[in-house]
């Protein structure tokens, strides 16, 4: 009844394709990974091939015995082979002039740990495909084990809290910055609280991938592993941006710039209070985490400022 009177959300202007996924899929309630997977082909179009791995994405993207739960072409890979398979596919599609966007879609465990070598290799060679990391800060599909993307202090099943254990003792690998150092044709960070920002970045990715390698790092909270209420995952995304825990930036031709700047960043506790993976942290632990966030933000800011 309100149709025609209610202002249409601008995000619909970015969609060139209908949803490629089935209505009900086997992902957890409130998981931003599902929203990301649905969102990407809506913006990029359906002439794409997903390359993915065993992990949270697998049951839906690759199917379980029967067909996958979407209409897109896909190739499933072990975690060590994703960027190399994408290389083989994109090289051949480009050679025969086929209109195809090859999109790797993996978790942070694959991208930052076991599958990092071929990712770095493909980025250095300037392979023409898009690599999207959905970063849920650990091995969530296997039951919340730490990855090198797990933040300082976080409790996981392999960095548990106990009489001696205090969660993960080291800061996470700064993956977006590491990928920037490969000087990709385009790279960006994105998350689901800022959909228009994300959509613009996907559009740029589709354009820039004609020139070379594209990397997108998507912050993707895990309601189950991080112990978040399933109705709060977008709120967590938003607070990650507002606290500068996960700044939104992009880089063309190796030049980084912020796409969203936070005038008055909130303390990191605004983020940590929404989940239980940091709930064991006392004041000093939270201060350490705040220090790590500030330090990381200052570094990317100095790079952005240098390019102004």
């Amino acid at each position: 009844m309100v149709e025609g009177t209610k202002k249409r959300n601008k995000i619909f202007d970015y969609f060139c394709e209908e949803d490629q996924f089935a209505g009900g899929v086997a992902w957890c309630a409130g998981c931003p990974l599902e929203l990301t997977a649905r969102f990407v082909p809506k913006v990029l179009g359906k002439n794409m091939v997903f390359v993915g791995t065993p992990g949270c994405g697998a049951p839906v993207l690759h199917g379980q015995n029967v067909g996958a739960w979407h209409k897109l072409a896909y190739m499933a890979s072990v975690m060590t082979g994703v960027p190399s398979k994408a290389t083989g596919l994109s090289r051949y599609y480009n050679r025969i002039g086929l209109d195809a966007t090859v999109v790797c879609f993996t978790g942070d465990g694959c991208a930052t740990d076991v599958g990092f070598q071929p990712l770095s290799g493909a980025a250095e060679r300037g392979e023409k495909f898009i690599y999207i990391t959905y970063d849920n800060e650990g091995y969530m599909n296997t039951g919340n084990q730490r990855s090198s993307a797990t933040p300082l202090g976080a409790a996981t099943t392999t960095t548990p809290v106990g009489k001696i254990g205090r969660g993960k003792p080291t800061v996470s690998k700064n993956m977006p910055l590491i990928m920037l150092m490969h000087r990709p044709a385009y790279m960006a960070t994105a998350t689901l609280s800022h959909l228009e920002d994300f959509a613009k970045k996907l559009q740029k990715a589709k354009e820039k991938v004609k020139e070379g390698f594209v990397y997108l790092h998507v912050f993707s909270p895990c309601p189950v592993g991080w112990r978040i209420s399933s109705n709060l995952s977008i709120e967590v995304c938003r607070n990650a941006v507002r606290t500068n825990y996960f700044p939104l930036w992009e880089a063309e031709e190796g030049k980084p710039r912020f796409t969203v700047e936070i005038a008055n960043p909130k303390p990191v506790t605004e983020l940590t209070k929404l989940m239980r993976k940091f709930s064991h942290l006392k004041e000093d632990g939270l201060e350490e985490l705040q220090k790590a966030v500030d330090e990381r933000y200052a570094l990317i800011k100095s790079l952005c400022d240098a390019n102004k």
Binding site: N47, K71, M75, G81, S84, K85, G88, L89
Partner: protein
């Protein structure tokens, strides 16, 4: 099919001739990572591309695991592909090797045989290939430089056959053949095109293309898994006759026959048989000839294919013989016999209970010499006459 034109004769190393063999088949996507003793092959393929002799995407990958992933994916997209490796490189591909065969990607890979990691042996041996026996590939072993070239061409006919669609590994002894220059007849590329032309007349294989609801590498569970594995194993069984058929086609066209799955040399009237593979078979042939002069009724079986194991043809060739000696260039950890010998022993139910003597020789670049083979033949002869024999002999340890 009429005969091919006479090719150009070149004196050329095994690595370089492997590159020529691949180039003549016009692969569209090539990925390679250098490793001793294969590096010259990776370089030569890159040079072909740089010179415009080969129109291919050459991917200079950051490791062998990526070589295999690049070519298997390109192959699934529809490309003809090629890669090459050796030893540690083959080990590093282990997961991707299994994906290539499970995806039914018709990849052709050249492997210069070398010992595997653990003891740093930069030397020849078949341990790399043998350790990859259960990855679902076709594994072929060749003897000399000419056979390297010819077998690579035949490998494409096999891998891309509509009823096969499996990856094929062409193995040659690293060091012995990789650096050995021999006179080789290089066929004209038009003749290679003609030999591979039947592949274009068959139905088009399933390819992964965007815009189509199609996937590759699904999570097979229960019956989905079983059905895929069953079909894979059936295809491997079909390889056996197909290899013999392609060998005949090749011989009819190019004038060189290799025997298909196995080559039988002076076996018809032989009482005893030596089974060998790879470059050492040349030496065995010489010793067999010399022993024949002395009246010893000995023959040679050159094992050209290790996977699928040519059980039927071996049974046929061995039936009625009195004793066999098998020379293995690799080990079967946990079994005292060499790997080829161990598999041959499974034929006992068909060939009867005859002495099968296992010889371990030629590990880590130790030569399989004329005296070694004479010793094998003497001992197998004695066993055939009912004398006691040693089941397993590590020849270098007894010298």
């Amino acid at each position: 099919m009429v005969s091919a034109q006479k090719g150009q004769v070149m004196v050329i190393t095994g690595n370089a001739v492997a590159a020529y063999g691949a180039m003549l088949c016009r692969p569209e996507v090539v990925a390679a990572y250098p490793i001793t003793p294969q590096s010259e092959l990776a370089e030569q393929l890159a040079q072909f591309v740089a010179n415009g002799v080969l129109d291919a995407e050459y991917v200079e990958v950051e490791g062998e695991n990526s070589s295999m992933n690049v070519v298997l994916a390109a192959s699934i997209a529809g490309a003809r592909t090629c890669t090459a490796t050796s030893s540690y490189g083959l080990v590093f591909m282990y997961d991707a090797l299994q994906e290539a065969s499970s995806f039914r990607a018709p990849v052709v890979m050249v492997n210069a045989n070398r010992e595997t990691p653990g003891i740093h042996a930069v030397s020849s041996g078949q341990q790399d290939m043998i350790s990859a026996r259960d990855v679902g590939w076709v594994q072929i072993i060749v003897e000399n430089d000419q056979e390297i070239l010819d077998q690579i061409i035949m490998a494409y006919r096999l891998a891309e056959d509509f009823n096969i669609q499996l990856p094929v590994m062409v193995n040659y002894d690293g060091f012995y053949l990789s650096y050995l220059a021999e006179a080789v007849e290089i066929p004209n590329i038009e003749d290679v095109d003609a030999f591979l032309a039947p592949l274009k007349k068959q139905p088009e294989r399933q390819k992964l293309v965007p815009g189509v609801s199609i996937g590759c590498g699904t999570h097979g569970m229960e019956m989905g898994y079983v059905e895929a594995r069953y079909k894979h194993c059936q295809a491997l069984e079909r390889v056996k006759d197909k290899v013999d058929e392609i060998d005949k086609d090749f011989g009819d066209y190019f004038g060189r026959y290799y025997g298909g799955q196995i080559e039988e040399y002076r076996t018809d009237d032989a009482d005893i048989i030596v089974v060998a593979s790879g470059s050492a078979t040349g030496t065995v042939r010489t010793v067999v000839d010399a022993k024949r002069e002395d009246g010893v009724k000995v023959g040679l079986i050159k094992l050209r294919m290790f996977r699928p194991f040519p059980a039927e043809r071996l049974t046929e060739a061995i039936k009625g013989k009195k004793a066999i000696g098998v020379i293995d260039r690799s080990l079967c950890f946990g079994w005292k016999y060499g790997p080829i010998c161990m598999e041959l022993k499974t034929l006992a139910v068909n060939i009867g209970s005859i002495p099968i003597l296992s010889y371990i020789d030629g590990l880590a670049n130790l030569d399989i010499t004329v005296p070694h083979i004479e010793r094998v033949i003497d001992e197998v002869s004695a066993a055939a006459q009912g004398k006691p024999y040693q089941e397993v002999t590590w020849i270098p340890m007894e010298e």
